[in-house]
């Protein structure tokens, strides 16, 4: 069964998470540090387990208190964003394992895929993981119960129209 009730989601926390992932992934690649990529995977995994943006603490402890980033609370479904982060975790974990296993091209390619998708979300407002979630919901897959906020393309950042 699909549901339409929306919750308040702070997109500033999500954006901080995405920007931090992009930055750390690029730094990990430039410095050739698989450990840093593994750290990003770990934080994303912990975030998925806690149902929160992995690097959300950067926002809540550093950026928000200093006023460097303002809350951007929109009516939205948190579940697709959690799913998107979990997908990112899987890619990052796979990338890290590949890097530690010596498959550098595959490893860094997966790291770049995560960075690119995070950039698409942060700068373009389109969440690929969320779009996949809504697509699976349309296929009535168990556990995927949410419908996209009204009037938007599934995966796009809501315009606050709900």
């Amino acid at each position: 069964m699909t549901t339409f009730a929306l919750e308040k989601v702070d997109h500033a926390a999500l954006k901080t998470n995405q920007l931090t992932i992009i930055l750390l992934n690029i730094v990990a690649f430039i410095l050739n540090q698989p450990l840093l990529a593994a750290f990003v995977a770990l934080v994303m995994g912990v975030g998925s387990a806690l149902k929160a943006p992995g690097f959300g603490f950067v926002y809540s402890l550093l950026l928000k208190p200093r006023g460097w980033m303002k809350p951007d609370v929109l009516p939205d479904n948190p579940e697709p964003h959690r799913f998107a982060q979990f997908l990112g975790f899987l890619f990052m974990a796979g990338g890290s394992l590949a890097l530690f296993g010596g498959a550098n091209i595959l490893g860094w390619a997966l790291v770049w895929v995560v960075a690119a998708l995070a950039a698409l979300n942060a700068f373009g407002g389109f969440c690929v993981g969320c779009a996949i979630y809504y697509w699976l919901a349309r296929l009535r897959l168990p556990g995927f119960t949410k419908q996209p906020p009204g009037g938007i393309i599934p995966g796009m950042k809501p315009k606050g129209s709900a």
Binding site: I30, K70, P71, P75, W112, M156, K157, K159, G160
Partner: protein, 135 residues
């Protein structure tokens, strides 16, 4: 070691450049789309620059940053510019026609009514001033 680092740095820069180029292309596509829809919004050439500002009532950055920046711009420029504010929840048809994917989004039109700039997300006063000057 340094060669490898430079190579990786160059590759990362290249990837970022590709991303920036894709973002620029998206902006150009939005401007072309906006051009097709200007006549529905303006009956005649406006004779002065126009800012078309898409917002929604519960868009936080619109309230805290974008609207104050636009009001500052209006107080600086007076009647030398025109501001058209569109609530995307009231006019989803317009938001769709103009290709607005998120709010705030601002389009800057020149005096002939041709869209010249699009800002996806918050555009601060300095940026708007710079864009207005180059119209």
């Amino acid at each position: 070691m340094n060669g490898d680092l430079l190579l990786r740095f160059g590759f990362a820069l290249g990837m970022i450049a590709v991303g920036v180029f894709a973002y620029w292309l998206l902006g150009q596509r939005l401007l072309a789309r906006a051009q097709e829809n200007v006549p529905a919004l303006l009956d005649a050439p406006p004779q002065k620059p126009v800012i078309v500002y898409f917002t929604t009532p519960d868009c936080a950055p619109c309230k805290t940053v974008q609207r104050p920046a636009l009001h500052q711009l209006l107080s600086l420029m007076g009647d030398r510019i025109r501001l058209i504010e569109i609530d995307a929840t009231q006019r989803p048809d317009l938001a769709r026609q103009w290709g607005v994917m998120s709010v705030p989004t601002t389009f800057l039109l020149n005096a002939q009514g041709e869209p010249r700039y699009v800002n996806n997300g918050v555009a601060r006063l300095e940026k708007l001033l710079e864009q207005i000057k180059s119209l």
